[in-house]
Symmetry: C2
Subunit: 387 residues, 2 copies
C-alpha cells in the first residue's frame, strides 16, 4: 500500500528517482561562465561577496559568511559560541552525524537529547526537566553534575527542514545563559512563526550540499546578526590571516574553510530560484499528504503548527515501530529504483558516540523505527513548470 | 634595479599583475557545462572519479583521493600516518601556515625545523644531527627527551614548488621509523630525480587552490601507493559512512572533506593543460633567470640540481638580509600594481606557535629577510601561445 501510494505520485517521473536532486533551470550556466571568464574561481572573487549579501537579504539577517560546507559552518559557529575542549554540547540524537562531529572537532563531547514527535527535533519540555536535574552552578558555570564537565551550548537541528520550537528552546537556554547554535543545514527557507530558521539564535549553520534545497556543489554558511561574531567567523574561516598588502601572517589557528568563488556563482543562480523551489516542494508535500490521507498504517509527516517548512525531505511515519516493516518498504522502493531511506542511525548508537552522556531517548528511538524519507526533488511537483 | 628588471619582463602585460593567476584556455567550460547538465554537481558524480584517476596516472601513483582543499588533505594524511593528540610533528618553519595548522587539527604540536638555502625546504643534514641529539627510544617509541612527547612524523614541504632532498630525508626518517608525509601543496608537476613530488613518501597532500598551478576553485588531494591507506582516506573524508543501500551509519568521527563534482570537472579540464602550464612557467623562470643574471645584489632562485621544478612562485633572494630593502622593493612593486610578497612569516614567530619546540632556525630566519616572490602566472611566459 505504501509503496503503491508513492509509485502513484511518481508514476510520470523518469526512474531512477533520487531522494533529492537539484534543479539547474536558472542562470547557472551564465553565472558560472562569467565566473570562469573573470579568472577568479577560488576564494577571491565577487560571487562570494554577492552570495553572502543576497543570502543575508533573503534571510533578513545582518551577516552571512560563506564556507566550504555545512559541517565547517557548524564547527566554526560552535567555536564562536565559546565551546572549548572538554565541554559538553546538547545535540539531538536524531540528526545527521555532522551535528555531533562538529562538537568533536572542538574537542568537546556531544550530550544527546531526545526529540518530540511533532517537530522531529529537540523536545524543549523534556530538555527543560532534564537540565534542571543534571545542571549545577559552579563558579558561574553550569556543570553536568554527573560528569563535572561544563555544558557549553545547545544545538537544535531542524530535521528534514521542519523547525524546532525555538521560542521554548531559547527560553530554556536563557535560564542557564547557554548559547544556542541553530543547525539549519536542512531548513533554508523554512519559517518559524514568520521568521526564517537560521535567524532564531545568535549563530546558525546552513548547508548547500548537492542534496539540499539550494546547492553550491559543496558549501555552507555561518549566519549571525552580531557584527563581532561575523568578523571573527570570516577571520577564522580564512586561516586567521592578518590584513596586509603583502605580509602573510596569522594570529591564531584558523581554518581553510572559504567557499570558492565558482561555487558561490552557482549559489547566486540557485538563490534566484529558491522561492520557486520551496513552492514546488510544498506542492509536492501537499500531493503526498493527500495521497497518504487514506493509506492505513502510515502518516505523512506535516509541518508543525507554528511553521512553514521547506519540506526538504518528505517523511513518512509508520504507525507501528516495527523495523521489519520499515525495511520491507525500503527494500521494495529501492528495488523499484525509487530511492528511499530510513532515519539516520541515532547518534548515541554509533560506535564513537556510544559512551557519550545522554538523557532518556525513547521518543527518538521510537521515531527511528518508523521513519522513511521519500523522494523530494522540487521538479517532482506537478505544480511546477518543469515537472 | 630589481624593480626595473621585473618591469622589463612584464612590460607587455596588462596591469595589475597577480602573483599567480589561473589560465582557463582548455575545455573548462565544456566540462563544467556537462557537469551541470548531468545534475550531479556535488559529492556524487563521475568527475571526481575521473579527476582522481587521471591525476593518479599523471603522477604515476596508485591512489588519489580528491578533497576539499590542500589543508584537509594534509590533515587526513597526518591522521593516517598515525599522528595522535599530544604528539610532535617535525615541520619546516618556512612554510605556509596550513602545514602547522594541520598538525594542530590532529591535537598534535608542530616542532619546527630549519631550511637549507639550496632547496628552501627542510635541511636533512641539520635535521639528522638535531634528531640524534633530542630523540630517545622509550618503550619502542622515539620521544623528544626535552618534552617527553612522542615524535610522530616528518612533514617536508616543497616550498614554492622546489623539491626537498627527499632521499636524504627519507633516510633519516627510516633511522627512527618515522612516517614522512609530503606537503606537496605547491609542487604538482615538480620532479625529484625523475620522480614526481607527492609520490616520494607513503602519503602526500596536494593543493588545487586558485593560486596553484592547477586549480579546481578550491581543492586538494591525498596521494598514496598504499591501498589500505587510500581506502581509509576515502572513508575518513566522506564522514566515515558505512556502505549500505539505504542505511546511514558511521563507524568513527569522519570529515566532510569530499571534493564536489563541479570542482572536479574544472580540475579535469585543467589537468589536460598541466604539461603546457609547466612548460610556460619554466620558460618564464628562464626569462627571469636571464634578466637577473646581471642585476647586482640579488639572485634569481634556481631549482636544486636534482630537481625539475614547476617554479610555482618565482623567488628572488637578496644578497643581504636587510628587511628594509625587502620592504622597499615590495612597496615599489605593489605601488606599480605588480603583486609581490615576502616569505610567509616564519611559523615559530606566529603567536599561536611561539611556544612550540624548535631547533636552531637561523637559515630560515636569514632567508625570511631576503626572499621576494614575484609574478609567476603561466600566461606571463613569452614562450606560450597565449602570452
Amino acid at each position: 500500500m505504501i509503496v503503491d501510494a508513492i509509485k502513484s505520485v511518481l508514476r510520470d517521473v523518469e526512474h531512477p528517482v533520487s531522494l533529492h536532486e537539484p534543479s539547474f533551470i536558472g542562470r547557472e550556466w551564465q553565472l558560472l561562465k562569467d565566473c570562469l571568464d573573470s579568472g577568479y574561481v577560488s576564494s577571491v572573487g565577487e560571487y562570494v561577496d554577492r552570495f553572502e549579501q543576497q543570502l543575508a537579504q533573503y534571510l533578513g539577517v545582518e551577516h552571512v559568511v560563506a564556507v566550504v560546507n555545512g559541517t565547517a559552518a557548524l564547527h566554526v559557529s560552535l567555536l564562536l559560541a565559546g565551546v572549548k575542549p572538554g565541554d559538553e554540547v546538547i545535540v539531538p540524537t536524531l540528526t545527521f552525524v555532522a551535528t555531533a562531529n562538529a562538537v568533536s572537532y572542538c574537542g568537546a563531547i556531544p550530550h544527546f537529547a531526545d526529540s518530540e514527535q511533532s517537530t522531529l527535533g529537540l523536545d524543549p519540555a523534556k530538555l527543560r526537566q532534564y537540565l534542571a536535574g543534571i545542571l549545577q552552578l559552579d563558579d558561574g558555570q553550569w556543570l553536568n553534575r554527573n560528569t563535572g564537565r561544563r555544558v557549553a551550548a545547545i544545538v537544535p537541528m531542524h530535521a528534514f527542514g521542519h523547525p524546532v520550537d525555538m521560542d521554548a528552546l531559547n527560553e530554556i537556554a536563557g535560564l542557564y545563559g547557554l548559547p544556542v547554535v541553530e543547525d539549519a543545514a536542512e531548513s533554508l527557507g523554512s519559517c518559524y512563526k514568520d521568521r526564517m530558521t537560521g535567524t532564531l539564535s545568535s549563530l546558525a549553520a546552513i548547508s548547500f550540499n548537492g542534496n539540499k534545497i539550494l546547492t553550491t556543489g559543496g558549501g555552507g554558511a555561518i549566519v549571525t546578526n552580531d557584527k563581532v561574531l561575523a568578523k571573527r567567523a570570516k577571520h577564522l574561516t580564512t586561516t586567521a590571516k592578518m590584513p596586509h598588502r603583502w605580509q602573510i601572517s596569522h594570529d591564531e589557528v584558523g581554518f581553510n574553510y572559504r567557499m570558492p568563488n565558482i561555487n558561490a556563482a552557482l549559489g547566486c543562480a540557485q538563490l534566484e530560484q529558491l522561492a520557486g523551489f520551496i513552492e514546488r516542494k510544498r506542492s509536492l508535500a501537499e500531493t503526498y499528504k493527500k495521497t497518504f490521507s487514506d493509506v492505513v498504517g502510515v502518516d505523512f509527516f506535516q509541518e508543525p503548527e507554528f511553521a512553514c517548512s521547506n519540506y526538504w525531505l518528505n517523511v513518512l511515519l509508520l504507525d507501528e515501530a516495527k523495523p521489519e516493516i520499515c525495511n520491507e518498504v525500503l527494500e521494495a522502493l529501492n528495488n523499484e529504483s525509487i530511492m528511499a531511506r530510513p532515519s539516520w542511525t541515532l547518534m548515541h548508537k554509533l560506535p564513537m558516540y556510544q559512551g557519550c552522556p545522554r538523557m532518556d531517548l525513547s521518543v527518538a528511538e521510537n521515531l527511528e523505527q518508523r521513519l522513511i524519507c521519500i523522494p523530494s526533488s522540487p521538479f517532482l511537483s506537478q505544480a511546477g513548470d518543469h515537472a
